[in-house]
Each structure stands twice: as C-alpha cells, then as structure tokens.
Amino acid sequence: MTGRPRLAVWKFSSCDGCQLSLLDCEDEVLAVAGAIEIAYFPEATRREDDGGHYDISFVEGSVTTPHEAEAIKDIRARSTTVITLGACATSGGIQALKNGASTKDFIDAVYAHPEFIDTLDTATPISDHVKVDFELRGCPISKTHLIELIAATLAGRAPQTPAHATCIECKMAGHVCVMVAEGKPCLGPVTHAGCGALCPGYARGCYGCFGPKETPNTAALSARLAENGADRRQIRRLYSTYNTNAPAFREEAKAHD
C-alpha cells in the first residue's frame, strides 16, 4: 500500500452495531481518520461509492436478499482485503434463525403484503459467497479487536485475536464460575474469546455472542447443562441465537430438536 489506504465500510443485513463500534472509538476515531482514507462509509459520511478500488473493505451484516448476494461479489472484486465485522457477517447473525423456517410464514407474520417483500430463504455469512481475508467475531465486535485489527492492517501484520474459549478469559479475570457455583447455563467453555468474559462478571452465563471457539466440545457442555437441569428446548435455544448458523452451534442445536 502506498499512501493512505482507502477504506470502505459496507452494510448488509444487520443492526449497524458493529460499524457503530468504529464511531464509538472516540479516542481513536480522528487518529484513524488521519491514517486511513475513509473513502466510503455511508453511516458517517455523504461521500458516495466512486466505483473504484478499495484497499480494505469492512463488511457488516449477512446476505439475506438476492441484491446482497450480487453486491458482495462486486465488493470482493474491488477490494484488496475483505474483513467481516461481527456475528452477522461472520456466521449469519440472529436473522439466520429464519434458516430452516418457512420464509412465507415469516413474511406473513410481519407484513400485510408479502408480495412487496424480496428476500432469500436464508441469512448466510459473507464467506459463503466470497473469499474473506479476516473475520472479527462478536455481536457486537470488541473495540479492542477492531483497533488491533486496524493497527495490524496498517503495519502489514496479522491481527492478534486469540481463538481460545471465553472460559479462559473468565478464569484470567478471576470470576467465580457461574455454572459451578450457581448452576447457571453458560456457553463460556465453547465460545470464542473476545469480550473479556463480560457476562460472568455480571453474574450471568455467557450466551455465545462471539460464536464457537476452535474445536468446541459442545456435546460435553450440553451433557453438563442437562445435568444442571436444562431441558432439550432450553439447550436448543441456548445455541440458537446470534451465531445460530455457525456450524458447531447449528449442529448442537439440531441434536436437541
């Protein structure tokens, strides 16, 4: 990269929370804007997509419409590096709860004129459609990860975002285990690190918003949840939230159908 890299921020089906994280870096945002040319970021600036090439494309959101399925290919073709921001873009997001349900039934539940609605039957991650260079987890992403990612990208090195379990972060934070001490259901043992074990710090079980860690032993966790009194439906619901379409969580939910 010569000169300031050109950054674009793209939105697919999402809540805007992950891209908002960028504006929530109050102490860093002006410095970042100095180091990177924010060429396209419609939530923050009126500047239009000039149809040109971008060094870095941040993508938030999942693919849920025929239009989005086309748009992502064009973005890939015009970007050197494609980075997904958050659970929606990385695994499909909460809207992937519609995968497997009847879309018609869903449209009928929300809209009076289903014929006005153009949607796919599934919400899918960006990587189902194009090659993705790096994925940030979380619903929403962690600001620390985001800043590390930007710093690493500017320095031309790989970002350091450990793939171990939330459970390890929890031990490092010195929290009392909510599952052992209080029998609360917790996805910490199978969830990707990144939040700093926030929920256990607030006396609640992890609900998995960073998605599965590498090689999670979900079956062992489910057995433990059952011992603590969770029924099959509760276990299924636990895996079926913001990363419901991440393979490890999807399969474990299915095993409790």
């Binding site: 939105k11 697919f12 089906s13 999402s14 809540c15 805007d16 929370g17 891209q19 908002l20 994280s21 504006l23 929530d24 109050e26 102490d27 945002v29 002006l30 804007a33 924010i38 970021f41 419609p42 939530e43 923050a44 600036t45 009126r46 500047r47 239009e48 849920t64 419409t65 989005e68 909460i94 809207q95 709860l97 519609k98 349900a101 039934d105 869903f106 449209i107 539940a109 929300v110 809209y111 009076a112 004129h113 006005f116 609605i117 949607t119 919400a123 619903c139 929403p140 939040c195 926030l198 929920c199 710090g201 607030y202 006396a203 609640r204 609900y207 918003c209 509760q234 619901r237 939230t241």
Partner: protein, 432 residues
C-alpha cells in the same frame, strides 16, 4: 425546470438503508416517497417460541444505535404480561441506563450525522479537518461519557448484557457509580457548550403544525423510561395499553417497513420535539435555562431546531444521571422472582428518536406466542413524507443539489433509524 425528480438512492449519515424521491409536475410537488429498503430481518416472526427472558437481548439486535430502548420497552412489556411489579431502585437504574443511551445517541446524531448538514460538510471528519476540530472533539468526549454510563450499568455500550426481565443480573457498585459521577460533573459544562454550538447553527426558517405524541411517566418525570400513558398536543390522553386502539401500522409498497398512523387521522410525530413541547415543565432548571439562552422558546415547531432540542435533552440526561447516581444504593437481589404464566403485556418508552412500543402474548410456560414491535422511525415515516412535500415546496427554484441537500437535512431532523424501521432511504425528484 418545472418537471423533475429529485432522488437519492442511498441516504447517508443515517442508521440503515433508505432512499427518497420527490416528484414535481408543473412546478408543484405531487408526490414524495421515503423508502426503506433495509432488508427485513423478521424479528416478530422468530421471537415466537422463544422464552420471555430472551426478548431484551434478542430485540436489542434490531438496532445497534438504540439497543437500550429495545431492552427497556421489552422488559416492561414482559413484566406486565407476567404480573410483576419491579421495585423503584430497579426502575431508577433503568432510567440511568437510558440517560446513557440518550447522551450517546443524541450526540452521535447531532454532532456526527446532522451538524454537517447545517455547516455544509460531507461528514464530521471533514468538519473537524476544516476549522471545527474543537466542536468535534468536544462532541466525542461528551458522547463517550454517555457510553461510559451504558458500559458501567449495562456491561458494554452496544447490546448491554445486564438487563433482565424482572430487574438486573447484578447491581453496580456504589463506588464505581461515584467515579462515574465525577465524569458526569465534568460533562455538565460540555453539555452547556454543546447546546450553544447547536444553537449557533443556521436554521431554515420553517415550521409545521405537527400532531405530536409522547409517553407520560407516572411520577411526573420527563418522558423516557416508563410510559404508562400516551399523550398528544391535540388532547389525546390514553393508557399505553390502548395503543392498538388508537394507532395503526400500514404496509406500503416498496418499503420493508410498516408505517404508523393514528386511526383518528393521519401522520404524527414522535421524538425530541413532542417530548420537549409536551413535557417542557419537567425539564431541569439548567436545561430550561439552556433552552432559553438558545432562543428555543416554550414551544418548538421548527423541525430543524430538533438538533438544539437533542442538545438540551442531553444536558438534562447528564443532570438526571447525576441525580440518580447520588440517590443510588446497591440492592440485592438484583431482580424480582419470575413465575412463568400466560398473559399479554405492553411496554412503551422513549428511544432517543421517539416512542418505541412493544407488545407480547405469552403461553403458559412463558414462551412468546406473539410479538409486536412498533419502532419510532416507522411511526415518523408518514410525517417525513409530509415534511418533504411541505417544507421543500417553496424551494423548487433552487439548483438540484441544493434541494437534495435540504431534503436530506430535513429527513435527518428525525434521526431516522432505518435498521429499526425495516421495517429506509434513497432522493429522487421526479419532474416528469
């Protein structure tokens, strides 16, 4: 140029995706369209069959800008359905969390998304690079204090994790709250300075006679958290539970949002202007003084001045947060006991951009049988279209890009949240 179309296919500096179009025939506006093309995400559908306890976290994901609003309306609806009355300390902490979101969201919108319209910049970053660095830095510092309230009380600024049906997972430590109080005391001067920054902006001299609607709280407080009644400037005064008897949602073509209307007649406005106009007396003395200094008056009908009202409301939220922290005592248990049962409940609270109504019907085991969510931008959509027709009508002789700019600025008066409303924006002026 008597026949033309002014159109924007992708409205910038709003939360989500939308477009608009103004159709001009023989020099007169004959149609305006404010379109939401943010893809539908079907929350009301997939909430069915989920547990009541999951609603605050799931509905938060409708909007990353105002997740607290979703959490506050949903927990209140669930508690009504379950027949649980939460304690005053639980309510006070919720109001404190809400103050954080008002500051964070109002300042983000006013400084980063809306102010550039008034000053002629593409973005706040361009503003900062062109002589307004102090104002932008002030806003960023100020916004951050809103974030730190949400982070302490809620666990994190986006999609807080501490809110629970029945109360909280854990009550924060008084000690940590008192540290936050120090930041808030520093924010008071920033808040006044920010009001003065907005008051000095150049305002189009335009007014409209809106029907304005907001919630009313039971304790005579400024409308925010606990909407037990809904009131209007036209004399409406109904229990919030009667929302569906008085308001309707319509599904219009080319929009992935449902539009809200009053059964008794047409478009209405929700948000900072209605709150200010209907609850001015409930503002703090310092907020009233700032309003007076800004020349707002007792009544605001100029929608472009909503940016000043947001700044005044943010000042109010800082003071309110200080008061709530000073009165705060740790409480344990952090939540009321919940026993699942069948029932129906409603929750109405004031998101920064307007009233947010939730209604749920629960099964015997506490699962959700039916969910209804009416976000503020969906309610404001008809009013936005009327604004485009009325406020732009005498500007049609101006160059296309100036009209387009004014249209965008007009829409941003609403701080529209398209992610929420998807159930938003792209300007077309069609002159034939």
């Amino acid at each position: 140029m008597t026949d033309t179309t002014i159109k924007v296919d992708m409205l910038a500096r709003v939360e989500g995706e939308g477009a608009f179009k103004v159709v001009v025939r023989e020099g007169k506006i004959v149609g305006t369209e404010f379109r939401i093309f943010e893809p539908p995400r079907f929350f009301e559908a997939f909430l069915r069959g989920r547990d009541h306890s999951e609603a605050p976290d799931i509905t938060a994901r409708i909007c990353g800008i105002c997740p607290v609003a979703y959490q506050m309306s949903s927990v209140q609806a669930m508690e009504m359905a379950l027949g649980v009355e939460v304690s005053q300390p639980i309510k006070n902490l919720r109001r404190l969390l809400y103050c954080g979101e008002w500051i964070e969201s109002h300042i983000l919108h006013a400084a980063m998304l809306h102010a550039p319209d008034f000053l002629g910049y593409a973005s706040a970053i361009d503003m900062a690079n062109d002589g307004h660095a102090d104002a932008v830095k002030l806003a960023l510092d100020y916004k951050k204090i809103g974030n730190s309230i949400v982070t302490l009380v809620g666990g994190r600024e986006i999609h807080p994790i501490n809110v629970k049906v029945g109360g909280w997972w854990k009550a924060p430590k008084k000690r940590d709250m008192m540290k936050l109080r120090e930041d808030l005391l520093r924010a008071l001067d920033m808040a006044d300075a920010f009001v003065d920054f907005t008051a000095a902006l150049p305002f189009p001299d335009k007014e409209r006679d809106y029907t304005m609607v907001c919630i009313e709280e039971p304790n005579g407080r400024y409308p925010m958290y606990e909407g037990t009644r809904l009131i209007s400037n036209r004399g409406m005064d109904i229990p919030a539970t009667a929302f569906n008897d008085h308001f309707d949602e319509h599904h219009v073509k080319q929009s992935n949002a449902l539009q809200g209307r009053m059964k008794a007649g047409g478009a209405y406005l929700t948000g900072p202007l209605p709150r200010y106009n209907l609850a001015y007396d409930k503002l703090s003395e310092r907020a009233k003084a700032a309003a007076e200094r800004s020349g707002l008056g007792r009544e605001v009908k100029n929608p472009y001045r909503s940016i000043v009202v947001r700044a005044v409301e943010s000042l109010f939220a800082v003071e309110e947060a200080i008061r709530l922290i000073e009165d705060y005592e740790e409480f344990d248990p952090a939540a009321m006991e919940i026993t699942p049962r069948a029932g129906t409940g409603m929750g109405a609270s004031e998101a920064p951009r307007g009233m947010l109504f939730h209604q749920y019907t629960l099964e015997e085991d506490g699962s959700i049988a039916k969910a209804q969510i009416v976000p503020p931008t969906a309610q404001n959509q008809p009013s936005i279209e009327e604004d485009l027709a009325e406020l732009i009508a005498d500007e049609l002789d101006r160059p296309h890009d100036e009209i387009q700019w004014l249209c965008e600025q007009t829409i941003r008066n609403y701080d529209p949240c398209i992610s929420c409303a998807t159930h938003f924006l792209d300007l077309t002026i069609d002159r034939g």
